[in-house]
């Protein structure tokens, strides 16, 4: 649905940061305030603009580096890959799209799962990747999220999921819709086991992803400015035939409307997660 935005913006800048015309790629311009930032500084600030606080979209690798304890993250299920089982062809075949994306990202699909620790708290985690086909949720994303949850149903570690997704992957038709039910059902089982689940909603989290595991955290944390919506802004504007107010469907808006618990700066996220997980987890160290 609101994957529409990803497609619309595709030709423009969806890369993590606008590269400047300086050899060596050491300088980057902030998308929000146009400040020229030193690439290395930006990285040491978790890709948050030190001037305006703008949160750049980041890759799973970067997120792992910023959030998880050094070298604690071990990937799982990297072998799970997509299939063009409908023989879907729009302007291009789904098979080709998959092949190209896999080549570009050297990864099977728009998600990385694994086990790691955050401030010494062990968790099972999944991290979505908006750069990979708009973070769209097909069978692979659904399966890998579900397996992450199932690992926690077994080992009782908390689950942390970082979402970033335009919604369902239309090229997998109804099967992509079913991933919403599959992942949500797994979360029901997780809750029965009294294992905490924290959802970190990153820019953007829309469509079917928002209406399933992304919003179902025991605690929902949003990154500042993240677009979080079921229907995309464009669709709504078409429906109600008027401009949407500024800030509509952004993290801070959702906080005000009671949908997320916190809007947390990425630079404080690690610490927040650690404190939260320790307080919540009935199977953790504090509880023993």
């Amino acid at each position: 649905m609101s994957i529409i935005d990803w497609f619309a913006k595709k030709e423009k800048n969806i890369s993590s940061a606008e590269r400047l015309n300086i050899p060596g790629d050491v300088w980057v311009k902030c998308t929000s305030c146009s400040e020229i930032l030193f690439q290395k500084d930006l990285d040491s600030h978790c890709k948050v603009c030190s001037k305006c606080g703008f949160h750049f979209r980041i890759s799973p690798a970067e997120r792992i580096r910023y959030i998880f304890d050094h070298e604690s993250f071990v990937e799982y299920d990297s072998n799970v890959g997509p299939v063009d089982f409908l023989g879907f062809f729009d302007t291009e075949s789904y098979s080709d799209r998959i092949r190209k994306a896999q080549q570009k990202f050297d990864r099977n699909d728009a998600i990385v799962s694994g086990v790691g620790s955050i401030g010494s708290v062990p968790v099972n985690a999944s991290i979505m990747d908006f750069f990979y086909m708009g973070g769209s949720m097909g069978s692979v994303v659904g399966e890998k999220i579900t397996r992450t949850i199932e690992r926690s149903i077994d080992d009782l570690k908390p689950v942390v999921v970082f979402t970033s997704s335009g919604g369902a992957r239309m090229q997998e038709g109804i099967m992509s819709l079913m991933q919403m039910a599959k992942t949500s059902a797994a979360l029901e089982r997780l809750a029965e086991k009294r294992v905490p689940y924290i959802s970190v909603l990153c820019d953007p989290t829309t469509g079917g992803t928002s209406a399933s595991f992304a919003i179902l955290g025991d605690v929902n944390i949003a990154e500042p400015g993240a677009l979080i919506s079921f229907a995309g802004p464009r669709v709504i504007e078409q429906t109600i035939r008027q401009k949407l107010p500024k800030g509509f469907q952004r993290a801070e808006f959702l906080l005000k409307h009671g949908m997320v618990d916190m809007v947390v700066d990425r630079r404080q996220l690690r610490e927040t997660l650690q404190t939260l997980l320790q307080a919540l987890n009935p199977h953790g160290v504090l509880a023993k």
Partner: protein, 316 residues
């Protein structure tokens, strides 16, 4: 009754028959031979048309203004029905109907999307597009079903959840997601019927069922053909191509393992005979309830979980 575009040739033949009949009567001429011939041709054409419907034609039937609606089907199917209202939080959403009913000795909770048959009704029902309040009403009723051990029957018929400003404010995503999770946890059986349009998360929001049936001319899709066309095909007019590509018809949904069976409709579509549709649905409900009656609660829950757990196609 509104004629669908692909029914035009058939309509022309019927018109001709009507004209001949009139002529025959007024002029007192015997045209029965000619009439019979055209009638035979019409019958042949009719069978041909409806046996070879393409996905976008089926979409048209699924959206026919006279397609049987949830409320009417409920009243045709169940012996008693009392409609209940409200989410106990904010509003009563007319785009979702629900209540308690009986069918023989079975006590059930029924929930469905509700479309209208004319403009006024459709505006009141918001064209069957629920706000979060609708999903929360559904959830409240289903939770009551769980409490009182009543099987849940749902009727799916929506273009999608309403993409409105206030719907987003009140948490459309949250409302749908919560239903998905909660429905997965119920230990009473859930039987769902896609009776018309099964549009996206708005459909699934009352569709996490133990058994899912498609009406013969119902469709179920992750996004409307129009939406898919305008995004992926960059041309909203390619809806028919998108409808085809997404595999949204009853046989395809069954083949993908998402639906468990097809409920037959009268030739030409359910709008020609609501009672016939109701009768077939009733049969499916009765038969399934009979099966579920002998199952343990844990078994019912497990079966539903397994059903959704295995959905997805991937390599590994």
């Amino acid at each position: 009754m509104k004629l669908l575009p692909f029914e035009k040739p058939l309509a022309e033949l019927y018109d001709k028959i009507e004209q001949l009949r009139k002529l025959s009567e007024e002029g007192n001429i015997d045209l029965s031979g000619e009439i019979l011939k055209i009638e035979q041709r019409a019958e042949k054409l009719r069978l041909e048309i409806y046996k070879n419907l393409n996905p976008s034609q089926i979409v048209q039937i699924a959206r026919h203004p006279n397609r049987p609606d949830s409320g009417s089907l409920i009243r045709l199917i169940f012996d008693t029905f009392i409609e209940l209202h409200g989410d106990r939080l904010f509003a009563d959403d007319p785009a979702i109907v629900g209540g308690v009913g009986t069918l023989g000795a079975a006590r059930v909770v029924i929930v469905g999307h509700q479309k209208g048959h004319d403009t006024k009704e459709n505006i009141f029902r918001n064209f069957g597009m629920p706000n979060p309040d609708g999903y929360r009403k559904a959830l409240r009723l289903m939770q009551m079903a769980e409490r009182f051990r009543m099987p849940i029957i749902t009727f799916i018929d929506t273009p999608g959840a309403y993409p409105g400003l206030e719907a987003e404010e009140r948490g459309q995503a949250e409302a749908i997601a919560r239903n998905l999770r909660e429905m997965a946890g119920f230990s009473v059986p859930i039987i769902s019927f896609v009776i018309g349009e099964g549009g996206s998360g708005g459909a699934l929001g009352i569709g996490v069922a133990n058994k899912l049936y498609m009406l013969e001319n119902a469709v179920y899709s992750v996004i409307s053909p129009e939406g898919c066309a305008s995004i992926l095909f960059r041309d909203a007019k390619k809806a028919d191509v998108a409808a085809n590509a997404m595999k949204i018809t009853a046989p395809e949904i069954v083949k993908l393992g998402v639906a468990d069976g097809i409920i037959p409709e009268p030739l030409g579509g359910g709008h020609h005979d609501w009672k016939a549709v109701a009768f077939e649905i009733e049969r499916a409900i009765t038969s399934d309830l009979d099966i579920f009656k002998s199952k343990a609660e844990s078994e019912i829950k497990q079966q539903r979980y397994d059903k959704f757990r295995k959905m997805g196609v991937f390599v590994s």
